[in-house]
């Protein structure tokens, strides 16, 4: 029988909803913590764990469930909605961020595994004075998007592509940007934008 809807538990913290038994952290061996050898998981003891991320140069501490993905932590817990979810299955690249300098699909990264990591999202690319990153400028100049939804992921991936040394030719850029789907079909303009940044001639 369906439950009769009651008032939402808006006044309750997540811990009080989820932490039905056991202490916080029971059965939860966190990165670098002293009880890393903890074994024998207590199934009833799911709870949130505190993690610290360096996001766009700022230290952020937050509580996450083990199943919380990095993209949901960024968007729902930190309000950094510039990172988009396009499939939530690691198939489209819209959620690409730089994690410790590597481009990754943040929908497949459990936030808890990123404890202590440096994360760069689209919100962290402009310099403190608000000047856009050259890749952002190039995407705008070359019309490297239409709807713009895949764009934050494309831009982060493009930066990764050049950093990895995989932007030596148009063909190589095409191959190494193939993890970012663009349904509007802006691919040739994306390649042009990346080439222009690579050549340092954008503007």
């Amino acid at each position: 029988m369906p439950k009769t809807p009651g008032p939402p538990h808006l006044g309750l913290s997540r811990r009080s909803l989820l932490g039905t038994s056991g202490a916080v952290g029971a059965g939860l061996g966190l990165a670098g913590s002293a009880d890393a050898q903890q074994t024998g998981p207590e199934l009833a003891a799911f709870n949130t764990a505190q993690i610290t991320l360096n996001v766009n140069g700022k230290r952020r501490t937050l509580n996450v469930e083990p199943r919380t993905t990095l993209v949901e932590a960024l968007r729902d817990d930190m309000g950094l909605t510039g990172t988009k979810i396009g499939c939530n299955q690691g198939q489209c690249g819209a959620c690409t961020v730089l994690l410790n300098g590597r481009r990754m699909n943040s929908c497949l990264i459990l936030a808890i595994t990123a404890d202590g990591a440096e994360v760069v999202t689209i919100e962290g690319l402009a310099d403190p004075a608000g000047r856009l990153h050259p890749m952002q400028e190039a995407f705008a100049e070359h019309d490297a998007f239409q709807c713009g939804y895949c764009t934050p992921g494309q831009i982060l991936s493009a930066i990764g592509c050049i950093d990895e040394g995989h932007a030596k030719s148009a063909a190589e850029i095409r191959e190494y940007m193939s993890g970012n789907l663009c349904r509007c079909g802006a691919y040739p303009n994306i390649v042009a934008a990346i080439e222009s940044v690579r050549d340092g001639q954008e503007g």
């Binding site: 670098g32 074994t39 083990p66 199943r67 699909n105």
Partner: protein, 333 residues
């Protein structure tokens, strides 16, 4: 995703202890595990994150063997220029897999253990899947056509295809897998790692609970240098193989002295075409012998409706891969 308990052990023995527990699974790059957990195909009670085990990182190229740590990243290994020259098949089968972002996250130990893309396995709305729910049946056998089913090594209980690329190079070149588990360390021939589906398709490898892949080694043989991974797919990148071949050649003058052939996109497990290899040894490598070798590789194929084309496609891919390997053996590309 079902919630779970999370461990990040600092050393191997703690990792083994945590991983051997009932319901525990090992987590490394997570590109496979997190995906399968999201869609409800895998629901572990606990994840044991082994990325803190620094000994499992990296790779090195020795005179006699190449060693890959289980935690080495696909992207890092694929970009190794020395390896690219020494053993092109081992880098090509990495960079032609997945996407750049997935290759940054995914680790080699997980890569070899990836699971099928069979839609009936991945869509939990199907109650019939012997691999996911042993004894429930196989919806693929009377289902709609897809090109995701094995034409080699399938059984009456399961026709799921092993989707990986790198494993085809490993099996072709006699790789070994070095593990540590509750029973100690052991070395497994890569050819023995995966188990044919038979009537127990839920059992995919011989790994025991708590047994962790530490590293993978590939012996250095002449055929590695003149090797190639050819992958046929309906789009240019970021697609699973419709058919692929990991091949290597050692020539003695005009004669094939050694040949290695692994087949991707077509079989239930990583597949080595030994009969085809034997056929070609001692012959000269021409388009004709290459095509004949390809046909022999698929002599035992039994496709489902919709996958028949893979017999011809796979044979042609083997032939094409051999032609490139031959050119490489002659110092060309």
């Amino acid at each position: 995703m079902r919630n779970f308990d999370y461990h990040r052990p600092a050393d191997m023995s703690a990792a083994i202890d945590a991983a051997r527990a009932e319901g525990a699974e090992i987590l490394a790059g997570g590109t496979l595990m997190v995906d399968l957990m999201k869609i409800g195909v895998r629901e572990p009670d606990a994840l044991v994150d082994i990325t803190g085990l620094a000994d499992l990182e990296g790779h090195d190229i020795g005179m006699d063997r190449i060693r890959f740590g289980a935690l080495a990243r696909m992207a890092d290994v694929a970009d190794d220029q020395t390896l690219k020259t020494a053993a092109p098949v081992l880098t090509e089968s990495l960079w032609k897999a997945a996407s750049p972002q997935l290759r940054q996250a995914a680790r080699l130990g997980g890569n070899i253990l990836q699971q099928t893309r069979c839609p009936y396995f991945r869509d939990t709305a199907y109650s019939q899947c012997n691999k996911r729910a042993p004894g429930s049946g196989c919806a693929a056998l009377d289902g709609g056509k897809t090109n995701l089913h094995a034409i080699l090594g399938g059984s009456d209980d399961c026709v799921a295809m092993y989707p990986g690329d790198w494993a085809q190079a490993l099996i072709a070149f006699d790789a070994e897998v070095h593990t540590q588990g509750p029973g100690g360390t052991r070395t497994i021939s890569f050819a023995d790692l995966h188990v044919m589906p038979g009537d127990t398709p839920q059992i995919e490898t011989i790994l025991e609970p708590g047994e962790i892949v530490k590293h993978i080694t590939v012996p250095v043989i002449p055929a590695l240098k003149a090797s190639h991974y050819l992958k046929a797919r309906d789009r240019e990148s970021y697609a699973f193989a419709s058919a692929s071949a990991a091949v290597g050649l050692e020539m003695e003058g005009e004669t094939v002295r050694d040949v290695r052939i692994g087949l991707g996109g077509v079989a239930a497990v990583p597949w080595r075409a030994r009969q085809a290899e034997e056929h070609l040894k001692g012959k000269s490598l021409t388009e004709e012998t290459a095509r004949e070798t390809g046909r022999i590789a698929f002599a035992d194929a039994s496709p489902l409706e919709g996958s028949e084309y893979k017999i011809k496609l796979g044979a042609d891919v083997v032939a094409g891969a051999l032609m490139t390997a031959h050119a490489r053996s002659q110092g060309g590309e």
